[in-house]
Amino acid sequence: MRFKCDDLKERWPEYIYRELPEHEQSLFVHHLDECEDCRAEERQWRGMLSEFDSIVLFDDSMEAPTELLYRVKRQIRFYEEWSKKQKQSMRKWIIGAAAACALIIFGLWGAYQNQLDARLSAKENSTFQPIKASIIDSIYDPDIVIQYHEHEILQKPKKVDASVDEKEKEPTEENK
């Protein structure tokens, strides 16, 4: 197998950096030996890269700025202080939010209890007005739920009384 010029075109970077597999490297070199155009192209590539090498030569004569370490240490100190403050303020927020939630819950609970007490006492003091509502209605109307259940709970003994009354009434009508 032999390499053609097009085969080289795809492989220049790998060849220059000697990263071609061994057999491809040999084929590459073999083609270069035979092809003047590709040898010229190789000179161009190496010329181009040598321009970059001049930057490397220039840079290698220097070291990273000494201030870098100082700046990194200072930056880390700032970051640590900042994150400590963040944590503290976050803790304050959490405690504040928890306290606010507790207050709201207790407030709502107290209001609910007051309302419940008021309703119960109002019911106790008033005659019961039975309502005609189905269970389905009671799902959609919270007032019905309360009244319905109250009716069930509170009126049970009254129901018994009513039936007794009716039974008592019946013979009187017959008697009449």
């Binding site: 950096y17 490297q25 270069l32 190789e42 070291e63 700025p65 870098l68 700046r71 970051y79």
Partner: protein
């Protein structure tokens, strides 16, 4: 001098003393990679500082089996690419007077040659600017940091074929951009060791 494993352990635990040693050990690589990516010393210094801070922040999450050098390069390249993207792309960040005032002035070089040398070096840096961020990163890692293509693929989390293709694109783009500057190198004799790679 601590071993790599000890260094990883110390960095993970955010031990200030070990982290300082880590910075001393890696600052050259981080700074010069940033410099070649960013093109300007001030930008490179800012980038390097941010990179080490990022490393400090994310160090506790570092996996035990990590190769520290590759991870550092990964953070460096990603940080530089982010910075380059956030910067105005068309803004030429090359300040020739600033970057090149220390450039090589060989003894006996006349002012005209020196000026030409300076201009050429400026063109070379400008050519680097002409690459996309990814092309530049791959070229910088391969040419300046001397990482193998396979290592670059690991650093950049990219398939090997993509790295090769991108490096190829970078080569041809640089050649085009530097067509006026490049002087052909004299023909090289390739010895046996080079042939076998």
């Amino acid at each position: 001098m601590r071993s790599e494993q000890d260094l990883v352990e110390g960095v993970k635990q955010q031990d200030p003393g070990i982290f300082e040693e880590f910075v001393r050990r890696y600052q050259q690589r981080v700074y010069f990679t940033s410099l070649r990516m960013m093109g300007k010393r001030e930008d490179a210094l800012d980038a390097a500082q941010d990179i080490f801070l990022k490393i400090w922040k994310y160090a506790p999450k570092l996996q035990d089996a990590v190769v520290l050098e590759r991870w550092v390069y990964r953070v460096t390249i990603n940080a530089c690419i982010d910075r380059l993207r956030s910067r105005n792309v068309h803004e030429s960040h090359l300040n020739k007077n600033n970057v090149l005032m220390f450039s090589l002035a060989e003894p006996g070089m006349n002012p005209r040659d020196y000026a030409r040398r300076l201009e050429d070096l400026g063109n070379v840096r400008e050519a680097l600017d002409g690459l996309t961020e990814r092309q530049r990163a791959i070229f910088v890692l391969r040419h300046f940091q001397n990482l193998k293509i396979k290592e670059i693929a690991e650093v950049m989390s990219m398939p090997l074929g993509t790295v090769k293709a991108t490096l190829h694109q970078a080569f041809y783009k640089l050649k085009e951009l530097l067509s006026d500057v490049v002087v052909e190198q004299p023909e090289r004799k390739i010895d046996d060791t080079e042939q076998t790679g």
